[in-house]
Subunit: 375 residues, 2 copies
């Protein structure tokens, strides 16, 4: 599917969605190669390197482990929950959008008792809100550090303080936040941190990564779950020799290896976060004169969610026009935000000239639009 359509068909397609994102030439080159047989010492070394590096980028404490799960971010969210929590837990879930709601669904399906802190779309979790749940005997906390549907970044320091005080097991969905916003597993008390291949790692989608500290590993080992594919005990065991219990997304694990080497060379987590922040700032500065404003009160640097000043216009139409006329993908919203909000991602191989093209297209969209309205 080489999208070549619309007015600017001479322009390459540009993807500002929040996953999959633009991949580097190095990663694409790996995608163009034959995939080797994987039950070998050579491949085990690659998986072991991936594990060490993923844990290192999170500054995970000693004895932490990583698991590579072939599946979407949701598969990892569900695996994390069912491997470490059960009906004996009492869970607090932050729900400020699609992905918070998904954690609630997972708890519902698996009969895990939970209460929900409902955050308004686009609003972060406040200290007042959170601490009203203090000393209520919760045993676990689920949060999407960046609620990707609204672009809100929750305050990990605040959540960490709360969880430490209450001795609560903390599962952080950092699918979008990883390498965009700061996550330190040693400083925070995150017990599990999840990400996906198609976000800031900028690989093909289909692989999820879970980092588990010692406490999380202990919970996994003690738990007997009703799933073969999601039983993390088997992944932890086979992972000791750099293998997985089932055929993994070998190609994506090889891309991950290449990408982690790249990150290691380029300044590690701090380097990646700085690049992402720079892209976000460049874009946010560039649209100041346009009739759109920030939707999230506490924006993550992985994505900018934007609300149209003129409520008679449709945000979904921005997505459609940019795709059809400019070969540019931004990310539309669904549900009740469909016509109000669209999102622009800052993950992946994007540079200032790419954002210039986007800002120009947005400028043209709103100018044309105003002209039509005015005429």
């Amino acid at each position: 599917m080489k999208i070549q359509q619309g007015r600017n068909r001479e322009n390459k397609p540009l993807n500002f969605a929040v996953g999959p994102v633009m991949m580097s030439d190095e990663v694409l080159e790996i995608g163009s190669q034959q995939i080797p047989y994987f039950r070998t010492a050579a491949f085990s070394e690659i998986v072991k390197y991936n594990e060490r590096m993923y844990l290192s980028l999170l500054n995970a404490p000693e004895n932490s482990r990583a698991v590579f799960l072939t599946g979407s971010g949701t598969s990892a969210m569900e695996a994390a929950v069912i491997n470490t929590l059960d009906a004996g837990d009492r869970v607090l879930v932050v729900n400020g959008g699609t992905f918070g709601s998904r954690f609630c669904d997972i708890c519902d399906i698996h009969s895990i008792p939970h209460d929900v802190i409902k955050c308004e779309y686009g609003k972060t979790l406040t200290r007042e809100q959170l601490f009203s749940y203090n000393a209520h005997n919760y045993t676990a906390f689920l949060v999407n550090l960046c609620e990707t549907s609204t672009g809100v970044l929750y305050d990990l320091n605040l959540i960490s303080e709360f969880c430490r005080l209450n001795n609560i097991f903390l599962i952080v969905d950092a699918v979008s936040a990883f390498l965009c916003d700061r996550i330190d597993m040693s400083e925070s008390c995150a017990d599990i941190v999840i990400t996906g291949s198609q976000k800031a790692l900028a690989l093909a989608p289909g692989l999820s990564l879970l980092a588990l500290n010692e406490r999380a590993v202990d919970r996994v080992l003690r738990n007997n779950i009703k799933s073969l594919y999601f039983d993390l005990k088997a992944y932890l065991k086979d992972g000791e020799r750099g293998q997985t219990p089932f055929t993994p997304a070998v190609g994506t694990l090889l891309q991950l290896h290449g990408r982690l080497k790249q990150i290691e060379r380029d300044g590690g987590t701090d380097g990646e976060i700085a690049k992402c922040r720079k892209r976000a700032k460049y874009f946010r500065d560039g649209i100041k004169k346009l009739p759109i404003s920030m939707f999230a009160d506490s924006p993550s640097d992985c994505v900018t969610s934007l609300v149209l000043s003129d409520t008679s216009k449709s945000a979904y139409n921005v997505f459609e026009t940019l795709m059809n006329d400019y070969n540019i993908w931004v990310c539309p919203n669904g549900g009740e935000l469909r016509d109000k909000v669209f999102r622009v991602g800052h993950m992946g191989a994007l540079d200032n000239t790419d954002y210039d093209r986007l800002i120009e297209a947005l400028g043209a969209f709103f100018a044309v639009d105003e002209k039509v309205e005015g005429g």
Copy 2:
């Protein structure tokens, strides 16, 4: 990981494993491209084409549906079982190796009552064996059409006759058999047929395909399962508009689209099966003088499992030597077959010259070996 080692480092690596397998240039080219945003009409059309073509290659009856699951073949085996069977079923499982055993594990984990027809490694299921279970009120049947660990192909006509007679729901794991051995969903009474991207479809691993006839779809829709990620109801619903509930392996779905177009041009299922059979025959003819013989009494054309005539030698050593000295991967066995059996695959972009290189290497291995033994 470009493996360049051993004596013949001028030779490109050759992969005769049973997945991942060698991919065509066309598929590799798709792997080298940027991955588009996927919540679009253009991508939906691709997914819908993939669904139509997968069902057509299986000659699935009207009102059948396909589901694309991001995960290994095991994820699809588990999803098929838990979405259509429950504690009220009485299941018969054919277990002749690793993958039969995996179906048993899945039934155990999910408390699904089942009996096991144990087949000796390398031996097919006989009519006598099977019909001793006739009229025993079984409700479902699970079989790995090709038990990939031993290369045995079970007789789908026989199983079909048995299931029809007993009005039994039939789940066929055709992960390795699809496009190598004949599977017709209209002629047989297979209700679900599963395959994986990294087998005869010769794509990157990480995507599973399930075909469900109307009876299977009905079972899925009636069942309430305890999983979010594996709930096929959501896949069926979103699939109506060519989408998936969670971010899929977009790149692999695009590769699948390219590959299915290729198959459509090249003679469909029959064309693929003929190519696979030709490769299997060429190889099997070529090794007649070597001190190895067929392990399976009823071999699938997707793989040739071989047993060493000299039991003092190790089959695992064949795998290691070919990998280290010839840049060639064959597939080793695990467990009690580790030193007895190795396997050579016939799926993927392999031609006669590739097999010539393998046969030559095997010839050298056994000659050298005999020489050493003789000296």
